[in-house]
């Protein structure tokens, strides 16, 4: 099964795009897209960067740490934005979580 429904994204989540949501660079239009069932989403630059880091192993907290270091920006603000973006994707059904959770 493609992961549980109603994913609630938190700092500890280890999200990943499911098999049916493909992040791809569209060579014709020169933009990144997420291909999903009968949908094409246009993620912004930050969303692309976040999704490239979300491999099912890194937690949302890890991803935020990396971005905070890279952009020398406040971690809390980044964490809030990352969670909001991922939650939006999860609500659309295009995000899953790694199955084995480290607790």
């Amino acid at each position: 099964m493609a992961g549980p429904r109603h994913i609630s994204v938190s700092e500890a989540s280890r999200p990943v795009l499911p098999r049916h949501a493909k992040l791809k660079y569209d060579e014709t239009r020169k933009v990144w897209v997420i291909l999903a069932p009968e949908r094409v989403l246009a993620p912004d630059e930050i969303a692309v960067e976040v999704l490239q880091l979300c491999n099912g192993e890194r937690s949302v907290g890890d991803v935020s740490d990396q971005l905070a270091a890279k952009y020398t920006a406040p971690r809390e603000a980044i964490l809030t934005d990352v969670i909001a973006m991922l939650q939006d994707l999860a609500d659309k059904g295009f995000l899953t979580e790694a199955r084995e959770k480290t607790s």
Binding site: A2, R19, K22, L41, G93
Partner: protein, 396 residues
């Protein structure tokens, strides 16, 4: 994150171009998704089939190599997704090969199927070939009605089975429910069925009345009360099932005041390829007599056909419009509605779609639909290659 689509649109034009849209053909972007009707053969005989009344025979169908060439060309010009549809796409023995080729050239693949010809093994092969998404049509929630609508015994049970296999293979599932007067009472259970099948999406698609459906309008047209209840149920379910089941909703436009922006506007965001290889602005376009459609078998590239062919440019933009469309403030919002419907109901595809309240024919057609909805005609004219077969009196 921008959803390129905005609000859930009708299934047939659910993908828009990424580029800002302009009104001249030369600058038109290639659609993100293309519908491939790889065959018109189908074991089902649904009376509202969206295929043209004059179906392409199997001898006219593109060959495996021709379809592969099409897939390569589509990927090259910037198409991102293809929908393998029909007829029944699994009636083609080379479907796995075509899906694999589509995946190899980088296309996202959707299968739009009645499911009745699929086996567990075949679905597994399709998944291995890279299939990304399965959409299964349902005619209702129980065998009696659904097998009667489809004119196919045992279909409903098979669909449930295939839906289960789809999820077991970790493929996302869309349940497509085509709604009309004779099954709208089952909508609450259809919504629950989609949840129980662990579907990601449900399309509640009221019949659109062209081709076969127009011939069956008296047996299918819902009443205004039924439609109001349908809308209420969809809105309630969307709220209740947020994050669990996405619901796309299409209303029959006879009861609307504004026409639909059919296909996102003629030749603006959509084309499909017929079994014989014709490149069409919509799957019903061949019903407009007098239009010549170019084929992928011609010397022209698909991109050339999309941008330059007579048929695509005929109703593109607003230059072709007559009154009341021509001076209408909504002309670039709905592009005068549906050309096929305008042709079918008025005899001229350049007339305003009578679904529009500004069409001089709107009132007459609305009243006619209302009268048919209240009528006693429930017998179907089943879809087939012979031009249709009327259901027997006792419903068989």
């Amino acid at each position: 994150m921008t959803d390129v689509l905005g609000n859930p649109p009708p299934p047939s034009d659910s993908l828009a171009v990424l580029e800002k849209q302009r009104s001249t053909a030369e600058t038109f972007g290639i659609p993100l998704a293309v519908l491939l009707e790889i065959t018109h053969r189908c074991p089902l005989q649904c009376p509202y089939c969206s295929n043209p009344v004059e179906l392409d025979r199997s001898t006219k169908e593109l060959t495996t190599d021709e379809w592969k060439k099409v897939l390569g060309e589509l990927a090259e010009i910037g198409v991102l997704q293809v929908h393998f549809s029909g007829g029944e796409p699994t009636a083609r023995k080379d479907l796995v090969e075509l899906v694999r080729h589509a995946s190899d050239v980088g296309l996202y693949t959707n299968l739009i199927t009645s499911a009745v010809l699929l086996t567990r093994a075949k679905l597994g092969e399709l998944a291995d070939a890279g299939l990304c998404h399965v959409q299964i049509s349902f005619q209702g929630i129980e065998e009696g009605l659904t097998d009667r609508v489809a004119g196919y015994k045992g279909g409903h049970r098979k669909k449930l089975e295939v839906a289960k296999w789809t999820r077991e293979l970790d493929l996302p599932l869309t349940v497509n429910a085509v709604m009309h007067r004779q099954n709208l009472h089952q909508l609450p259970e259809i919504i629950q069925m989609a949840v129980d099948l662990d579907a990601d999406r449900l399309e509640v698609a009221n019949v659109q009345y062209y081709g076969w459906a127009l011939k069956n309008r008296a047996a299918l047209m819902p009443t205004v009360a039924q439609l109001d209840e349908c809308t209420r149920l969809v809105e309630e379910a969307r709220e209740r099932l947020k994050g669990t089941l996405a619901i796309d909703y299409v209303v029959p436009d006879y009861y609307a005041l504004r026409p639909k922006k059919c296909m996102g506007g003629w030749g603006r965001q959509f084309f499909n390829i017929s079994p014989a290889g014709k490149v069409l602005p919509c799957h019903a376009a061949e019903s407009i007599t007098g239009l010549e459609f170019e084929s992928v078998r011609s010397n022209h590239s698909i991109a050339w056909i999309w941008q330059n062919s007579e048929a695509f440019n005929r109703y593109r933009g607003t230059g072709w419009m007559k009154e009341p469309c021509k001076s209408c403030e909504f002309r670039e919002i709905d592009f005068g509605g549906c050309r096929c419907q305008a042709y079918a109901l008025t005899g001229d595809a350049a007339n305003t779609d009578p679904a529009c309240a500004l069409s001089p024919l709107h009132e007459t057609i609305f009243k006619q639909a209302e009268a048919e909805a209240e009528g006693e005609t429930n017998r179907f004219l089943y879809r087939n290659f012979a031009g249709g077969t009327l259901e027997s009196e006792n419903g068989a």
